[in-house]
């Protein structure tokens, strides 16, 4: 067993080296060519975006009404590990067949791609509640924006201080 794995080492090294070369080439390709959105696979790298750009892309020029007590946003004040930041969005907004929360957007301002998740509800859910664990790159505001079925937007926002970023190098 020991002997055979020893024998494999040179092979593995050259393989790793090959991998490294492939990585560099891919990086160079990224510089030169911008892949078209349709052709790109689902897991392809999305371009970086500022939070303003995200908000414009998602909502255009629609106004974001302050949510007040309609949306309760639960986040830690200080997140020691940016890789796992629990978030809870609880709202008292109506959830009836013709007036309901269509979507909740979770957006963290300082992330490379600010949109964390978008939750599309149906009235079957009974109420608009959602909890997940987020990755946060840096300290900054995290917003939960609720979009009603008639298009009204409500925004709740809280700042989270991140000790160690969770989005890798």
């Amino acid at each position: 067993m020991g002997q055979s794995s020893y024998g494999n080492i040179p092979e593995r090294r050259s393989f790793l080296k090959l991998l490294g070369v492939a990585g560099v080439t891919a990086g160079a390709a990224a510089l030169g060519i911008v892949p078209s959105l349709q052709a790109a696979p689902l897991g392809a790298v999305q371009p970086e975006e500022t939070v303003e750009a995200t908000l414009t892309r998602l909502f255009g020029s629609r106004t974001l009404n302050p949510a007040g007590d309609k949306i309760k946003l639960e986040l830690p004040l200080i997140a020691e590990n940016g890789a796992v930041v629990p978030i809870k969005v609880d709202s008292s907004l109506p959830m009836t067949a013709n007036n309901y929360v269509k979507s909740i957007y979770i957006i963290s301002d300082k992330n490379r791609r600010p949109l964390n998740a978008k939750v599309n509800f149906t009235p079957e859910a009974g109420k608009a509640y959602f909890a997940a664990n987020l990755r946060l790159g840096k300290s900054g505001n995290v917003r939960a924006i609720a979009e009603m079925s008639d298009g009204t937007l409500y925004q709740a926002m809280q700042e989270v201080k991140v000790t160690v970023g969770g989005c890798g190098g």
Partner: protein, 109 residues
């Protein structure tokens, strides 16, 4: 890593018709994040992460979550469910490799 796609669900038992329960579901998944090489350039590849979560109850859609890479590894989601009748809750996770993982839970009174 052999456990990728293992879905766990926790559903409280509703006590009466029409009660809204909070369902919690967890999937084992790496949710790969964008990697960079030594000079800080983003490495282009097809990253493997869950991009769609669909929850249905007795075939009726409850909610759909569009997730991105900025959701933690082994993501945990909690969402409400209004239980009007006993049935089967199904949650399907789809990742960018085209794989779909499902978890089901039966709800009784």
């Amino acid at each position: 890593m052999s456990e990728i796609g293992k879905v766990r669900m926790r559903v409280p038992t509703p006590t009466k018709k029409g009660e809204i329960v909070t369902v919690r579901t967890l999937i084992t998944h790496p949710m790969e994040i964008v990697k960079r090489d030594k000079v800080g350039k983003v490495i282009e590849k097809n990253y493997n992460f869950v991009y769609k979560v669909v929850a249905t109850y007795n075939g009726k859609k409850i909610l759909e979550v569009e997730t991105t890479q900025s959701v933690s590894q082994n993501p945990l989601f909690a969402f409400p469910l209004k239980v009007d009748e006993p049935g089967v809750l199904k949650v399907a996770f789809t990742d960018t490799q085209g794989k779909t993982y499902e978890g089901t839970a039966e709800i009784k009174f």
